[in-house]
């Protein structure tokens, strides 16, 4: 009860606050603004209390709440109970709303100093209002008898909940969603500033206060995305850190827009151009956050994703569409109305200027975002165009983003070497020379190590070029003022990350292999021996695989178990981290020796095949020559055989002919053998005289006990997918360097914004 009331109070207070802030914008009265501010704080406090209450409900196992019942249980330890908070749709919307409210606490103080409060808080309030509206429809405070009216008795108190999906029972789940959602919340700030700029008709000064927030949002969202990638790689066993899955893509798209916006904002601040572009891009950052939420939460992607999305119901579906279209129409409607009065100064910089390089860079980033967004939306697009739902193959993403990646690499090097407004060509060429030569040498050297694709080679060239260009620029900046080194550091990190992408994803090696217990197998140059399994938890098992390489021995223990909760097989990989590579072992299955399954019997029509172990048997035809037909008519001894073509992978096929011999009413079997490993018997035959292709034979395949196949077949077989990811550490190190660069930039831009606000006041 209390929880629902708190959400209603928060919603009403927020609604009134938005109205007051708008009136304050029109009248410019301080008293009106302070009412708006007070109401906004009421809304913030209510939502904090609601979130606290939600946490208490979970920690005290109050299973009367549908949400707590659905995502928690008494067995869960406390840290995992925290991840129950946002394991479901309702909880994650509450988390998003909470972070939006917490950002508002700081944003109110910040914008008040910058004289931007009325307009920014009006627009930001609209965002909070929509999230609260979502919570009104999908409340985490619904009781079980409200969720299933008539089916569950009013006042019933379940003794236990359903529990948390084991996929989410992970320390990454305790931290990853918080980071991602605070990124989503932060993306609302540039939208609010862009709307505020249009309301105030102040098209230049808004950039200064907006920049630190934008960079902060890009940082947090970026960290969240990479955490998700690391989680997928290290724990979920997706085999890589990026799978172009809709859920991953949908957080990448707003991030790309935010990074593009950072670049055009920088350009506008120097040259005064790209005013409308900046307003539009700032709004798109948040609009694409909403669009991804719609894609991943509405169930519209259906069967086309690995993630199983819970259908949120029609109400939530239409509400999400309503919120998305409202924010798009409001923002772009305003932009359309203001289009004539927004100054569009003539672009004064030359083609060889940093401004233009920045513009091209963000155009490349925005194009990548658009391509990825189109790919992710493929089920919707084809649903409308062709009337049937299809998805794009993940090769779509690499083939469209790779050329853009080349451009981004090159531009991030050239752009950093160019001067503002215009560069002298001779000077530019001189500064380009060293990084270009180094990049060329580096790329050519890598050609000898198996670099064999033109586009990938260009991508590597771009990345190495950018690396050296930015190292050089960074060196110069650090000598002057280290505070300004954020951009150089970020681009060095980007270049390293790009190189890591190529080494770990283009030149990785993968092999699916069956490991017979105790028997060594050579996999990708590593000697693997499956040693057996041991229980590590009440339902989990670790499978120990000894790895020998270069004279060293190590053990990896991937985990595999049948989950009670999902009724399915759960698998966690194990990774051997080496300096130059990761050796990644993902378990697929444990096959008990097939010994018990011998002999096996099959009914085969002509041309049909059956498989035993690694051999396939195909029924070719009956072996019943005319001489035998004559013998049958004369009542003599008759032999009828069945020609069975046996194929074993790697060796040529062989035809064997098991037969039955009929002599004065007696039938004797005449089995055939294949490679001293199998005996094949003809059990019965059903020739079809009308349609000979319908003739059927019944055969039995017996594995010969003394054969090597039989010895292998009695053992446990662990099937794993082993892969080598060369230099994957470059990816993680690149990410860390990028994060450092972002932080340096945020510090610089915040100081700058504060300084400029002091000057204006």
């Amino acid at each position: 009860m209390l929880g629902s009331i708190l959400i209603k109070i928060s919603f009403l207070a927020c609604l009134l606050s938005v109205i007051y802030y708008y009136r304050a914008h029109l009248s410019n009265q301080l008293s009106t603004a302070s009412i708006g501010r007070g109401l906004y704080h009421v809304s913030i406090v209510s939502i904090i209390l609601a979130a606290a209450l939600h946490l208490v409900n979970i920690l005290t196992n109050d299973f009367r709440y549908s949400y707590v019942w659905s995502y928690s249980s008494v067995e869960l330890p406390t840290p995992l109970l925290i991840s129950s908070f946002y394991a479901g749709q309702e909880g994650s919307f509450l988390l998003w709303t909470l972070f939006t409210a917490l950002i508002a606490v700081f944003l109110i103080r910040y914008t008040r100093k910058m004289a931007y409060e009325n307009e920014v808080m009006f627009a930001f309030g609209l965002i909070q209002l929509s999230l609260l509206l979502m919570l009104l429809v999908k409340s985490p405070f619904a009781f079980i008898w409200e969720t299933w009216p008539g089916e569950v008795e009013i006042g019933a108190i379940p003794a236990n909940g359903r529990g948390l999906n084991p996929l989410l029972q992970n320390y990454w789940m305790v931290i990853h969603p918080q980071v991602l959602f605070s990124g989503f919340s932060a993306m609302g700030v540039p939208y609010a500033f862009a709307v505020a700029a249009m309301l105030k008709r102040d098209y230049t000064n808004w950039l200064r206060p907006a920049t630190p927030w934008l960079v902060y949002g890009a940082l947090v969202l970026g960290v969240g995305i990479m955490m998700g990638g690391f989680w997928a790689y290290e724990t979920l066993g997706w085999g890589g850190y990026w799978g172009w899955d809709p859920v991953e893509n949908s957080s990448l798209v707003p991030w790309l827009f935010s990074v593009a916006t950072i670049h055009t904002m920088l350009s506008q601040r120097k040259s005064g151009a790209y005013v409308r572009t900046n307003i539009a891009l700032s709004m798109l950052c948040f609009i694409f956050v909403l669009y991804s939420t719609f894609l991943t939460r509405s169930g519209v992607l259906g069967d086309t994703s690995v993630h199983s999305f819970v259908d949120p119901g029609m109400w939530a579906y239409w509400l999400l569409i309503f919120i998305l279209t409202s924010f798009t129409l409001f923002g772009f409607g305003l932009l359309f109305r203001r289009r004539r009065e927004i100054p569009a100064p003539a672009v004064r910089h030359s083609t060889f200027s940093r401004e233009f390089a920045l513009f091209l860079g963000s155009a490349a980033l925005a194009s990548a975002a658009i391509f990825i967004s189109i790919g992710t939306s493929a089920p919707i697009i084809t649903g409308i165009l062709e009337g049937k739902v299809t998805a794009v193959d993940i090769s779509f993403y690499s083939s469209t983003t790779l050329p853009l990646g080349i451009a981004i690499g090159l531009l991030s090097g050239i752009g950093r070497l160019l001067w503002w407004t215009s560069s002298r060509k001779e000077e530019l060429l001189k500064s380009l020379l060293i990084p270009a030569v180094l990049a060329l040498v580096g790329t050519v050297a890598l050609l000898f190590f198996g670099l064999d694709d033109v586009q990938v080679a260009l991508f590597v060239f771009g990345a190495v070029f950018s690396l050296f260009a930015n190292l050089e620029v960074g060196r110069r900046i650090v000598k002057g003022n280290p505070k300004f080194a954020g951009g150089a550091i970020t681009h060095v990190g980007l270049a390293i990350m790009f190189l890591g992408f190529v080494s770990s994803s283009v030149y990785d090696d993968k092999e699916t292999v069956s490991l017979y217990k105790g028997k060594q197998a050579d996999v990708l140059g590593y000697q693997l021996t499956y040693k057996g399994y041991s229980p590590i938890d009440h339902e989990k098992f670790a499978f120990h695989v000894e790895v020998q390489y270069g004279g060293k021995t190590d053990t990896v223990s991937p985990i595999m178990y049948q989950s009670q909760f999902t009724q399915g097989m759960m698998r966690n990989p194990d990774i051997m981290n080496l300096v130059t590579r990761d050796f990644y072992v993902a378990p697929l299955s444990l096959e008990e020796g097939a010994g018990a399954a011998s002999p096996r019997t099959f009914m085969l029509k002509k041309g049909e095949t059956a498989t035993v172990d690694s051999i396939t048997l195909k029924f070719v035809d009956f072996d019943f020559p005319d001489t035998e037909k004559a013998a049958m008519l004369e009542g003599r001894k008759v032999r009828i055989g069945a020609a069975i073509q046996v194929d074993r992978d790697g060796s040529r096929s062989e035809t064997v002919t098991p037969a039955r011999i009929f002599e004065s009413g007696e039938v004797t079997e005449q089995p055939a053998r294949y490679a001293d490993m199998y005996e094949i018997q003809m059990v019965s035959m059903m020739p079809n005289r009308e349609d000979r292709s319908q003739s059927t034979v019944e055969i039995r395949v017996v594995r010969l006990q003394d054969s090597s196949v039989a010895a292998e077949a009695d053992q446990e077989i662990l099937v794993v997918e082993a892969s080598i990811k060369p230099y994957i550490n470059l990816v993680w190190n690149g990410v860390i360097i990028i994060i450092v660069g972002f932080i340096v930039t945020i510090v610089r831009r915040t100081q700058e914004a504060k300084l400029s606000s002091k000057k204006t006041v």
Partner: protein, 131 residues
């Protein structure tokens, strides 16, 4: 400025053409068994697992073989690279990504996605069990 606009427009056109070409080229159609046999390209084959017929894992080839029946009731042998996917046994429907190999007479899948039963209907009952 003129040159820049021309270049800009040209770049955009190239991007649009390239993008839509990639889009339709990599689009993987959902289809049934006869569709997979007719289209000689990568498709997503939708159906259910035929539990009557034998399915097995071949450790030497690391392939999982099973029989899939589509909505029209047509059956097809599917050979998947790797082991049976998560939740295969309880899936209400499965989608196999790959192509039909005419010479071999089976659908060669590189990936099989499983769709699990919605827990919703059973939920109220489940809640009552825990009361």
């Amino acid at each position: 400025m003129k040159l820049k606009s021309v270049l800009g427009v040209a770049t955009i056109i190239v991007f649009v053409i390239f993008g839509s070409y990639s889009f339709f080229e990599t689009n993987i159609e959902y289809t049934d068994v006869s569709g997979a046999m007719r289209l000689n390209k990568k498709v997503q084959l939708k159906g259910v697992w035929n539990k009557e017929k034998e399915s097995h894992f071949d450790a030497a080839a690391t392939q999982f073989t099973f029989f899939l029946v589509d909505d029209a009731g047509k059956e097809c042998k599917v050979v998947l690279d790797g082991a049976a996917p998560n939740n295969f046994e309880i899936a209400t429907s499965i989608v196999a990504k790959g192509r039909f190999i005419e010479e071999e007479g089976y659908f060669h899948a590189t990936e099989v996605l499983t769709k699990c039963p919605s827990k919703y209907e059973a939920e109220a009952e489940e809640v009552n069990k825990t009361v």
